[in-house]
Symmetry: C2
Amino acid sequence: MLNKEITIKEIYQKINDDNYQDLDNKEITLKGFVRNNRSLGQVGFMSVNDGSCFLNAQAVYKGDDALLSSIKLGSTVIVKGKIHLTIGGYQPFEIDSSNIEVISQTEESFPLQKKKTSYDFLRTIPTIRMKSNTFNAVFRVRSVLSYYIHKYFHDNGYIWVHTPILTANDCEGEGQTFQVVADEKHPEEYFNKDNVHLTVSGQLHVEPFALTYGKVYTFGPTFRAEKSNTTRHAAEFWMIEPELAWCDMNQIMDVEEDFLKYIVKNTREECYQDFKFFYERVDKDLEKRLDDFVNKPFKRLKYEEAIEILKEASKTHHFDNSDIKFGLDLASEHERYLTEVHFKCPVFLTDYPKEIKAFYMKANDDNKTVRGVDLLVPQIGELCGGSEREDNYEKLLARMNELHMNIPAYEWYLDLRKNGSAPHSGFGLGFERMVMLVTGMTNIRDTLPYPRTYKDMLY
Amino acid sequence: MLNKEITIKEIYQKINDDNYQDLDNKEITLKGFVRNNRSLGQVGFMSVNDGSCFLNAQAVYKGDDALLSSIKLGSTVIVKGKIHLTIGGYQPFEIDSSNIEVISQTEESFPLQKKKTSYDFLRTIPTIRMKSNTFNAVFRVRSVLSYYIHKYFHDNGYIWVHTPILTANDCEGEGQTFQVVADEKHPEEYFNKDNVHLTVSGQLHVEPFALTYGKVYTFGPTFRAEKSNTTRHAAEFWMIEPELAWCDMNQIMDVEEDFLKYIVKNTREECYQDFKFFYERVDKDLEKRLDDFVNKPFKRLKYEEAIEILKEASKTHHFDNSDIKFGLDLASEHERYLTEVHFKCPVFLTDYPKEIKAFYMKANDDNKTVRGVDLLVPQIGELCGGSEREDNYEKLLARMNELHMNIPAYEWYLDLRKNGSAPHSGFGLGFERMVMLVTGMTNIRDTLPYPRTYKDMLY
């Protein structure tokens, strides 16, 4: 490490490890922003956050210092002083400051104040909201969660493939996309293509890599131009798409469950201060929900069985759409009933009717269902969608013709089934929904540093 | 790990660790693609790669088996057999196969053949080229390099910020961008903005996060719509942009050097098989260049001193542009002379004339130069560009007015200097240039899974 100054995170680490004897009276320099400041006449208390972790250090100063006692939330300071251990107290240490240098004071108009402000308001100040407790924790957890995603795949022998953002293919064969042009007057000129758009999924592009490296994944931004305004959709979001050769639908569920439990477990351990805040202040049920998520097995059942459960339930439970029969594309209300009310745990639903799933899913022998699998979780609904892929050239071609797809555009994809094919499966995880799941935040906009949604883009 | 089958990587690991006794006669099942196959009458040898590492396992079979001896490169197979150790031989083990099941044969027309094919040709088959030795190694190294980038920042307390791809701001205040529209007829309708484009840099968006968390970085795709056709430019590429509060120009050079050496060192260690191939087959000077990169200190000097060196050199060395004087925006020929001929090592150039650098760089007291710093490296030229940022509101505003910038659009950025500002610095690293540096590949297109360049986009 280049930085030789001790951080607040390191101080807490030593205290938690019962290895704090050498901290007492240690001279330290702390650089950060003010989270709280109050003067009680003789003595003043300034809480400073150095960015290393969720918790602050409280600097004690002479309360009659006019400048210091006037310093407001968000101002930046350099504190020099000695650590004074107060193990067992309200906070385990404070800093007896010998000098506090004020680097930049916030103005009267600084929009973040001590009183509780709404998430809606904070969303209008994306360059400041991460100084509030909630968002400070959300974006730290977002980062640490990302890290453990990469670490899981790396440690398990996956290759990260940076699939392209600009593409002329459309994975789902449907769905609104954003068009991309270098020059409005000659839109097709730059790439010699007349329909370049932002990717909706890296799956098709990553499949050939799975057939070479065995285990691969993508982790990058994806885009949907739907004009929808819900708490679960954004126009720009990040997606993780693992793809495995020599893997069938049952095995991909094993991978999903192992992966999801790993990232939640490790992120909770590393960000224990942030999670304590979420449990106490954001969602009282979150801790139990995450305990269950990590410790209990996920339920697995077929779509057809789910339909029976929902039919039965509709006799006593109100669904907006109660016309429940085989072929129904489950709405959020149905998915959430299954995972929240009926099973009370994450549920893998498998073997969907082919009509409601994408063209590339492997057909079952009944020629009615495909080896698709969605993961439904409490509070979120659909978290992952995946499948075993159709690896038979003739069957895939027939299905694409059935759907009147533009075959020449997908020739390269079809060809993968001719030359050195293998069974393979994969799934997609919407990263922001995962952040919602672990933090308890209920609006996708509150998990994105600069959310881009229909009619809404700041900076 | 869910996968209980032993991989080729694990076999080599055990052999390298001198921990291979229990391997001999071990029954294994290997699933992968054929790299090479030849029958010598009685006995046949099939090299199979399972994707876990660069090296293959050679399966020995009865050479008079008509099907097996006809299997071509790229076909997929499942090999069952026993490991036979041949430590000290040409390869340290082979597999006495009891059964080889052919899953999918490649056709006569399969474009990858045993004879050496050109990178240019391979670029036309992006779904297949990673089965060739060179690209198999390049994309593995690309993945592992990415991982160590995240690991370095995570282990050193940085927060990864997913800055937006869609933006209405333009970091450099210049440069061609790709426009994005949801609906051609009403281009401004979706976001209520009339100029939404793909990001050219996440720097401006990440600065407020640095002022909160202290140390942050971005790692994501960026876009330039320049109509240039060089071996070092792509329309879509990935960039890493660390940003640190409480950090000046000299400290950011310390961070850069420490970071770059760490990622090169760790990637070389993990991918030692791939690097052996690069050293022997791609670039004979690569090994020494990387040794120097990791072990020797980078040179640091001022732009002004570099101009003096180049002036002197121009008396004996030919430059296309030999009009060398203070204010010159150094061309690649000048940068490469400094790093390859004069210093023969990576060089940080600092304190550039303000006219040739971006508006946000901190002015020196001479009011002539700014605290910008570029890192020049042999074979590549400019690898990173960075600076200390102007943190004085009045100075930044004056400079932006001098450049006739659209001040209202940048008000949010200017405001960061008013409310809780702090000195801060950062740099940008073009990820594909870093891949070129470590692999010895000389065309950026050969470091990207699906390169997007002017007039060129496949799938």
